[in-house]
């Protein structure tokens, strides 16, 4: 077996084990050092993935697709995970044991990569389960804090149901098509009701990881209750994997009856529900959680028109990158402010902490899609792809939702910039989170302006099988 094909993934496992071993010998106040092996592993994974950039083949007996989608997934997930982990040492400084946090996060990232790379239904199930099981632990890490435990519990309950549906769906589809191999499934006849039911169940199972209707309810709770580094991770990384896995699924059955309309309907429901629920939130983390739900809806737009427009895949990739960057930046700001989340705490932030206020404003404007930020390029691609693919009404729905979303982002931006500061300036976490926020902001602006080469490479991406 060509073991080197999975080099980046093996690097993640090695890093996770190294972090775990290190955690066993380090005293409590030095547990943050476990960040080092984790970051090294992520860097190795990134470079290894880049070395395989030109590979287009199925590997490991056809269960793993080594193609442009996997490359992009590896890149985005590794970068996102690194940014989230940088927040962790200071955040968990008072935590009794958090060395394992790095291990869990790396395993969860591995699950997300495996979701995006899966070229076999069984492999997909394995990936989703790995990503989920680790996710529950990450969400409930603050065992003594009710909100965190609630987040973990809710994530677990919804996840258990969704994963069960996913497995049933996979079984139905396998039973009807006679194989779980994507290469063999490509273009297979899935017109029988059972197979279609199976497809729909798989979609709903992946919708859970994506944070889309009907599996979205955990997102706001996790955003609010999970430790901020974990919240940043869980609202972003599994979503990348799930969105790409869904794309592969639609790519596999481009003509399956009702599949596209189903995803289009989920897309509209998700963006609308997420935005309406976010409108009156008074907790900024919860607001970001609901906004993450709505962003999943936008991502589904590109999945809907998979293969109908040449821009569908590039726009999905670039949109996911934009979303990940903006969301992680927003959470980095919140971590930097030591997790302050009441809306009132943000009044006058532009004067008390101008850098952090600017970072949060840029992140939110990128989520709205204001040019020339990267979020605009992502959304522009989505609009082009959906209109080109014949789903102009979906683009119109997204436009209406974007206007609604500006309202709640402005509810945070306005007091930050317009109101006078109340009380003393908020204390901050440490330079790492600040640096992550500043780095993210620079990337939101910079990558938006120099989108060209990235889009070129995204357009050249080939999907297997």
């Amino acid at each position: 077996m060509p073991v080197a094909d999975l080099g980046p993934e093996i690097a993640l496992i090695a890093g996770a084990i190294a972090a775990l071993l290190l955690a066993m010998v380090l005293p409590q106040q030095r547990l943050g050092w476990c960040l080092a092996p984790a970051l090294v592993a992520l860097a190795v994974a990134a470079f290894w993935a880049l070395a395989q950039a030109d590979a287009v083949r199925l590997t490991f007996s056809g269960t793993w697709a080594l193609d442009g989608v996997t490359l992009w997934a590896r890149g985005m997930i590794v970068a996102g995970t690194a940014l989230c982990l940088i927040l962790a040492p200071r955040w968990f400084a008072q935590d009794r044991r958090h060395g394992e946090f790095y291990t869990m996060t790396l395993f969860s990232a591995l699950g997300a990569v495996a979701m995006a790379g899966a070229a076999d239904l069984m492999q997909l199930v394995m990936a989703v389960l790995l990503s989920s099981v680790t996710g529950y632990v990450l969400a409930a890490w603050h065992r003594d804090w009710a909100l965190s435990v609630e987040a973990g519990m809710k994530y677990f309950l919804i996840g258990a149901l969704a994963n069960a549906l996913l497995v049933i769906g996979v079984i139905l589809l396998m039973g009807m098509a006679g194989t779980s191999d994507y290469a063999a499934l490509k273009g297979a006849d899935v017109s029988s009701p059972l197979a279609l039911t199976g497809l729909a169940l798989i979609v709903s199972g992946l919708a859970f990881k994506l944070g889309a209707v009907p599996g979205h309810a955990w997102m706001p709770d996790v955003a609010e209750g999970a430790p901020v580094p974990a919240a940043a991770f869980l609202t972003v990384v599994p979503k990348i994997g799930a969105a790409l896995a869904l794309y592969r699924l639609v790519h596999l059955f481009p003509d399956a009856e009702m599949l596209r309309p189903l995803i289009a309907a989920l897309s509209v429901l998700t963006m609308t529900l997420g935005n309406l629920a976010a409108l009156w939130q008074t907790d900024v983390r919860r607001l970001i959680g609901w906004s993450s739900v709505s962003q999943s809806g936008y991502a589904l737009m590109a999945v809907t028109v998979a293969d109908l427009s040449p821009d569908a895949l590039p726009s999905l990739l670039w949109f996911l990158a934009a979303y990940a960057l903006a969301n992680v930046t927003a959470f980095a700001v919140i971590a930097h402010l030591r997790g302050r989340t009441a809306l009132a705490d943000y009044a006058g932030l532009a004067r008390a902490r101008p850098g952090m206020a600017a970072a949060l404003i840029v992140a939110f404007l990128s989520l709205v899609g204001i040019p020339p930020l990267i979020g605009f390029m992502g959304k522009l691609g989505l609009f082009i792809a959906t209109i080109d693919g014949g789903y102009a009404w979906l683009a119109l729905a997204a436009v209406l939702n974007t206007v609604v979303s500006l309202f709640y982002y402005a509810r945070v931006i306005a007091p930050m910039y317009f109101a006078a500061p109340q009380g003393a300036a908020p204390t901050i976490l440490g330079w790492q989170s600040g640096a992550a926020a500043v780095l993210g902001t620079a990337a939101l602006i910079g990558l938006g302006i120099v989108s060209g080469p990235f889009l070129d490479s995204a357009i050249a991406v080939i999907v297997l099988p």
Partner: protein, 492 residues
């Protein structure tokens, strides 16, 4: 050259945002930057040949995959608007701040807004057009929300939401239009030449609808004008001047450049409907303005009325009624002059309104009276601007309106006749406003009212001299516009 004019304000804005310079220094930097940008534009104007298509063109690749590039250039339609914007920005930036807080950021946002506004008029790429369109919203949102008064945050949010809705509709329409081309291109010149939706029916109509709604929100036309009064009333005076003088023009400029030039046939089919929309705005704007007791709100509503004239001119020009080329030509020239004139006149009026607020924190007409003796310079400036606004011959507004009406009479006489009613109401409302502010008994609260300072009068003089100049000797402006070439270029 043009690239420099756009990027310079952005660069200066970034400098002010990060460098810890004093309030005085930031003011000086801002004025110098705006002046330099204007100077660059004037240099371009000096080398401009009227009627020779797009000039001073510069291109640089940006996103080749989508056919997007940094393209700038000017023709007779964009150059006057860019020049007017450049001048109005110098005036507004030089105008004393109303609420003297956080000067560095105030000037940074103003320069940011200037870069976005000039970029919008100068770009030849549809996507860049949209980018600058949105950036202008962001700049104005922060200016109104932070430095406005009254219920400024609410007004700023309403402005942002309304115009973002409009701009996103425009984005969808742009995408739908561009997707008709193969290979994809956002180049305005190619799109004008290609007429991508010619001969299509429903789809072309929907695309036009997207543009018209989007630009109507920005212009604004009835019934989507409701964001305008609060935004104007609560914005600081210089921001109001920019909002009325520059940002509203983006709507009409978009109508000419995109809807009329790139979708000639479709626009012609719907020109009458757009004309009727303009008529409603003209009448509605003037009547509602007449009823306002808050004089800044009154001026704001006259913008609805005046922009209605401009849209009427555009509708006439795009109507493609054969045999009336001269009339359509005249109407387009009129619409362009109206845009320039309205920018200068209403810009001046809002700056004056800002001067009133700085002195009394009051916009209600009932609060004023008898200021003629105490503030003669104020009266002269406001009187001149008001007369220009109501269309007195010899001033800029008249030149514009007379051409629009002549053009409209040739094509749709009944519509033009009805629109004339707007002129009468406008005259009444401006005269009434002047009378109530400057004549009658002076309330004791106004005893210490100071006249315009030397800075203020200097800035207003620069704007109003141009208003008079356009009124008595409009040839240079009409030459620059050269509507015939714009029509031949885009409307045949």
């Amino acid at each position: 050259m043009l690239t420099f004019a756009i990027l310079l304000p952005f660069a200066a804005a970034a400098l002010l945002a990060f460098a810890p310079v004093s309030a005085g220094a930031s003011r000086a930097i801002a004025i110098a930057t705006a002046g330099l940008s204007l100077l660059v534009l004037v240099v371009v104007w000096a080398g401009f040949t009227p009627g020779a298509g797009f000039q001073a063109v510069q291109e640089a690749p940006w996103i080749p995959a989508l056919g997007v590039a940094w393209r700038v250039g000017v023709d007779g339609i964009s150059l006057p608007l860019a020049l007017m914007s450049g001048l109005l920005f110098v005036a507004s930036i030089a105008w004393p701040m109303e609420r003297d807080v956080n000067a560095r950021q105030y000037y940074a946002w103003f320069l940011f807004l200037e870069g976005a506004s000039l970029g919008l008029f100068l770009t030849l790429d549809l996507l860049l057009f949209y980018v600058f369109f949105d950036l202008s919203l962001v700049g104005m949102y922060f200016l109104i929300g932070r430095w406005g008064h009254g219920n400024a945050q609410r007004a700023a949010l309403k402005f942002f939401l309304y115009t973002l809705a409009g701009s996103l509709l425009i984005l969808l329409a742009i995408i739908a239009l561009v997707l008709m081309t193969d290979p994809l291109t956002f180049d305005m010149r190619d799109l004008i030449a290609a007429q991508p939706v010619a001969g299509m029916d429903l789809r072309a109509g929907l695309i036009l609808l997207g543009f018209v709604i989007g630009f109507a929100i920005k212009t604004p036309l009835f019934p989507v004008h409701t964001w305008l009064p609060p935004a104007h009333v609560d914005a600081p005076g210089p921001a109001s001047a920019i909002l009325a003088g520059v940002l509203l023009k983006m709507g009409t400029y978009g109508l000419v450049r995109i809807a009329m030039q790139m979708m000639r046939e479709t626009f012609a089919a719907w020109a009458l409907a757009i004309g009727i929309l303009a008529l409603i705005s003209i009448i509605w704007g003037s009547i509602v303005a007449f009823a306002q007791e808050n004089f800044k709100r009154r001026i704001a509503y006259t913008s609805v009325n005046h922009m209605g004239y401009a849209v009427l001119g555009i509708a006439v020009a795009g109507s493609a009624v054969t045999g009336h080329e001269a009339a359509r030509d005249l109407a387009l020239t009129g619409a362009m002059v109206e845009m320039v004139a309205h920018g200068l006149i209403t810009g001046a009026l809002f700056l004056i309104a800002g001067a009133f607020w700085a002195r009394t924190q009051e916009y209600e007409l009932g609060h004023y009276g008898g200021l003629a003796s105490g503030a003669p310079r104020m009266m002269a400036a406001m009187g001149l601007a008001s007369f220009a606004s109501l269309g007195l011959p010899g001033l800029a507004g008249f030149v514009a309106e007379v051409q629009i009406f002549i053009g409209a009479f040739a094509i749709w006489p009944w519509l033009a006749a009805l629109a004339l009613l707007g002129l009468i109401v406008t005259a009444a409302l401006f005269l009434g406003m002047l009378q109530r502010i400057f004549f009658g008994d002076r309330p004791p609260a106004l005893d210490g009212f100071t006249d315009l300072t030397r800075t203020e009068i200097g800035i207003l003089a620069a704007l109003l001299v141009l208003v008079v100049l356009i009124g008595v000797w409009p040839a240079w402006l009409l030459d620059m516009i050269g509507a015939g070439s714009a029509l031949a270029f885009g409307g045949g």
